[in-house]
């Protein structure tokens, strides 16, 4: 049976087994490849999206639990969102692979905390791995976005 949910403001349908992780529904079924696969075990944050405004790991979110809810992916984060603008201004990405997850995690932080401290950033962002080591720039970009 098709599962329907709100994806980036539009109705989306997926006719897949309800235990299929949202990550693979986005990437394979709907062709939205901005959300990345890194570990499949909630260890890296590459697959982070917003579910009803909260940052979640889409690799651990069965599509069945998403029916009727609101999902925002990196494609749905506005191009002029302060996080995206700060990421561009500071040239944060290197390989870029982890960055959609980083930006989704960071934008969820800023939605709840208008001026995060270093400790807030550490606590909030430490679930998102970047093997390229862009952490110093991510930190700076979050602070820049907070001021925007």
């Amino acid at each position: 049976m098709a599962i329907s949910f709100n994806l980036n403001g539009k109705q989306a349908m997926a006719d897949v087994a309800p235990d299929t992780p949202l990550l693979w529904v986005l990437r394979d079924t709907l062709g939205m490849t901005g959300t990345k696969f890194g570990c499949g075990k909630a260890l890296c944050g590459a697959c982070t999206v917003h579910l009803n405004g909260q940052a979640v790991r889409s690799c651990q979110t069965p599509i069945g639990s998403v029916a009727g809810q609101k999902v925002t992916t990196i494609e749905g984060l506005a191009a002029n969102h302060p996080v995206k603008k700060a990421w561009v201004a500071l040239d944060v990405p290197q390989c870029g692979y982890c960055q959609p997850g980083q930006m989704m995690q960071a934008s969820a932080l800023l939605a709840n905390n208008k001026s995060p401290s270093d400790a807030d950033i550490d606590a909030w962002m430490s679930g998102n791995i970047c093997r390229c080591g862009t952490y110093p720039r991510i930190r700076a970009a979050i602070k820049a976005a907070a001021k925007a």
């Binding site: 394979d28 959300t35 990345k36 890194g38 570990c39 390989c95 950033i121 952490y135």
Partner: protein
């Protein structure tokens, strides 16, 4: 070093001539609009540049973009001389072709921090030569002397206000003779090289998440493959039962391929769920019972062998028998995984008449040959398209995963995207080899260094991948940053012993610079402290200034560079707060190295807790890397390799049990996270000397920071940790006073 010999069969230049007539070439970047490209006729003055009649300029990027910024920095080199604004060009990844061979590695390979160094003259000349052809075409058209014409901003201007755009000139320019003598701009005239404000050209796509990585590629009618590979290194499939897997929803086929069993389905998740139901029995292969007791036992036995001499002067062994003080130490390094964030994957479409392989690779030139071998096709029938790479770090120099995908596609007769799980990736990596390093230093009564002995034992990577460069028992990629031993010791003997540990060894960011910098810089620090000297001053006082060329340098300069070393050591001393008294639990350590023709010194500040947890607070660098093409991204590479090195230094260790890798995912293979990254990484650049070429920056900090962290731990705690990683367990083990280095007084 001798080049790694590779011959590309397809010649890009020939292809260009054959296509001619204003057609664009038949390759494209996934994600790029083919329609838009087809609209404008393009002309190629050389393999690097395509100019459209619509004035579009496309620059071919012949190195793989894995974060290190070749996409922008290589384009800048061409744009500077071509007289176009790099921000207005389009960049495309080049196909495999002879024109794109990396002269420093002898193949179309991205690695060894060589991209900018190889490109430095070549790409500026390509840009200059195309510009001269455009100017020549304009001059001929206007019937004036070329000297009266000038190229600016993508157009040529001439006497009497004449002006023609590159687009208008492209066709006639591509028929001009290629100039032989191509002078380059003097540095003072650079407008783009060294631009502090230049942005990465790939950032907007990476922020919008429209940049296409291998794992993102979608082609019509594509199926998805999940794979089951042997849990033990070198194992093979004995038999399998796919009854349950075959009947799972979406499953199209279960196929055996050389390395394992693949489930092919309509989506990755369906394939993966079915794969988990396969029942496979394995031929365990030669490493079936391998474990760390065997690995280290074997390594220790190997280390007792004399090894092969790769550098010698005087009589080190003799002198060590009669020095006033003899210091000796043994260092041990673990195996490490690359673990880039994007797991290995490839889209392969093998047909009867050819194949398309779309893949995130660091070695596109090799792919047609291995895929040909796996499919029975000819290399020239195989089209390879390189995507963005979600990290590489040396892992993607290996082409194993392209072979797997090709075999699976061939077996099912459809385009297939094979995606590895993180567990597949971590357990089927090639691993930074572990090793044992024994060193001795003899000091005379006046405190002068008299004799030095180095004996390294580790698996040889090149013996597996490029055996022709291994000679007389020496792998040049095992002796980097030691062949160029930077301290003046009249009697020295450096030896290397290979050992096959049954753990596939691979090139890993920094390669043997990592092992040897830790050993050289850790030990010189020990000797400095033992003699009661300031570690920076002691290094400066003992630098080697002889410029004698050594034989086996891998990607180090192959000679000591005392003057450059002195400069970065003095600079880092001045800028790091060196010498200030630190509170309890805090320490400061230094290390210096030449690698990739970059000389860098680091001072690291650490805090160590009562439980031996180490925090890296601050890293200060002084770096002599010559001219910086894209300064902001040069800094980004140092930041990146610092944190990559820190992950290995504090946490990294791969172990095997029952022949297979034990670590499966990031919970077992810990890497640095946001809360652990240094709060400050300060980089001070030494201005380039006249005509100094650029040094490589993608790797050296990885090695330098590790050694400096170890020395900082000693400064903080008095504990000399001679085994990586600097985990609480290892630090605790070395806190035992039996490990304290006491000189043997002879």
């Amino acid at each position: 070093m001798e080049n790694i010999k590779m011959t590309a069969r397809r010649d890009f230049l020939k292809a260009t001539a054959a296509v001619g007539g204003g057609l664009s070439l038949g390759f494209y970047l996934p994600g790029a609009s083919k329609v838009a490209e087809a609209q404008a006729a393009t002309h190629s003055p050389n393999a690097w540049i395509k100019i459209g009649t619509d004035n579009s300029v496309t620059i071919m990027c012949a190195r793989s973009e894995m974060g290190q910024d070749v996409y922008t920095s290589l384009a800048m080199l061409i744009a500077e001389e071509l007289e176009v604004d790099v921000n207005k060009v389009k960049v495309e990844f080049a196909p495999p072709a002879e024109a794109y061979i990396n002269a420093l590695l002898g193949g179309q390979i991205t690695g060894g921090s060589t991209s900018v160094r190889d490109a430095w003259e070549k790409l500026r000349k390509a840009g200059a030569s195309a510009r001269m052809m455009l100017v020549g075409a304009a001059a001929a058209q206007w019937n004036v002397d070329a000297a009266q014409c000038k190229a600016v901003g993508g157009a040529v201007t001439g006497p009497g206000g004449k002006r023609a755009t590159y687009g208008q000139l492209a066709e006639s320019a591509s028929k001009m003779e290629v100039p032989k003598d191509v002078p380059l701009k003097p540095n003072a005239e650079w407008k783009q090289i060294g631009n502090m404000k230049q942005k990465r050209l790939d950032t907007p796509a990476k922020v919008a998440a429209t940049a296409t990585f291998g794992i993102d590629v979608r082609v019509p009618d594509m199926l998805y493959a999940a794979v089951a590979m042997p849990p033990m290194i070198g194992g093979t499939v004995a038999s399998y039962d796919d009854e349950r897997a075959k009947n799972m929803p979406g499953v199209k086929a279960v196929v055996q391929y050389s390395r394992g069993v693949a489930v092919v389905a309509d989506s990755y998740w369906q394939a993966k769920k079915a794969k988990d139901l396969l029942e496979i029995s394995w031929n365990e292969g030669p490493n079936a019972n391998n474990d760390m007791r065997k690995v280290w036992g074997g390594m220790r036995d190997a280390a007792a062998q004399p090894g092969a001499v790769f550098r010698e002067h005087g009589d080190a062994d003799g002198a060590l028998g009669s020095v006033a003080k003899l210091y000796e130490a043994t260092y041990e390094l673990p195996f490490l995984s690359h673990s880039p964030m994007e797991p290995m994957n490839t889209v392969a479409h093998v047909r009867a008449d050819g194949a398309t392989i779309i893949t995130p690779t660091q070695f596109q030139q090799l792919v047609p040959f291995v895929v040909a071998g796996a499919t029975g096709l000819k290399p020239e029938q195989i089209n390879v398209i390189t995507t963005f790479l979600g990290g590489g770090f040396g892992r993607r120099v290996e082409v194993d995963y392209t072979i797997d995908a090709a075999e699976i596609s061939k077996a099912v007769g459809a385009p297939v995207k094979m995606v590895w799980s993180r567990e597949d990736d971590m357990t089927h990596d090639s691993y930074r080899p572990g090793g044992i390093y024994k060193v001795k230093m003899g000091v005379d009564a006046a405190g002068k260094l008299v004799a030095y002995r180095y004996h390294g034992t580790s698996p040889s990577i090149s013996s597996r991948l490029f055996p022709s460069i291994v000679k007389d028992g020496i792998d040049p990629f095992s002796v980097e940053a030691i062949d160029n031993f930077p301290y003046a010791v009249p009697n020295h003997k450096l030896t290397y012993q290979m050992f096959d540990a049954g753990i596939t060894p691979g090139y890993w960011r920094g390669v043997s610079h990592n092992q040897n910098c830790y050993v050289v810089e850790g030990f010189i620090d020990e000797v400095a402290h033992a003699l009661g000297k300031d570690p920076i001053q002691f290094r400066i006082d003992n630098l080697e200034y002889s410029e004698e060329k050594h034989k086996w340098s891998g990607l180090s300069a192959g000679q000591a560079v005392g003057g450059r070393m002195k400069r970065v050591l003095e600079d880092v001393k001045a800028k790091s707060g060196w010498g200030a008294k630190l509170p309890d639990g805090k320490g400061r350590g230094v290390a210096v190295m030449e690698g990739y023709n970059t000389v860098m010194a680091a001072v690291v500040d650490v805090t160590i807790s009562k439980n031996y947890d180490v925090t890296v607070d601050k890293v200060t660098y002084s770096v002599d890397a010559g001219p910086l093409i894209h300064p902001d991204q040069a800094a980004a590479q140092v930041e990146s390799s610092t944190i990559f090195g820190q992950s290995a230094a504090l946490y990294g260790e791969i172990t095997v049990k029952n022949g297979g890798v034990e670590q499966m995912n990031f919970d077992q293979y810990r890497v640095v996270r946001m809360n652990e990254a240094p709060k400050s990484i300060a980089i001070h650049w030494i201005p380039a000397a006249k005509d100094q070429p650029p040094g490589g920056l993608g790797e050296p900090a990885t090695a330098v920071v590790t050694a400096a962290i170890g020395n900082a731990i000693f400064s903080a705690s008095g504990i000399r940790v001679r085994r990586l990683p600097f985990s609480p367990e290892n630090i605790k083990a070395f806190a035992d006073p039996r490990h304290t280095m006491k000189p043997t007084n002879l």
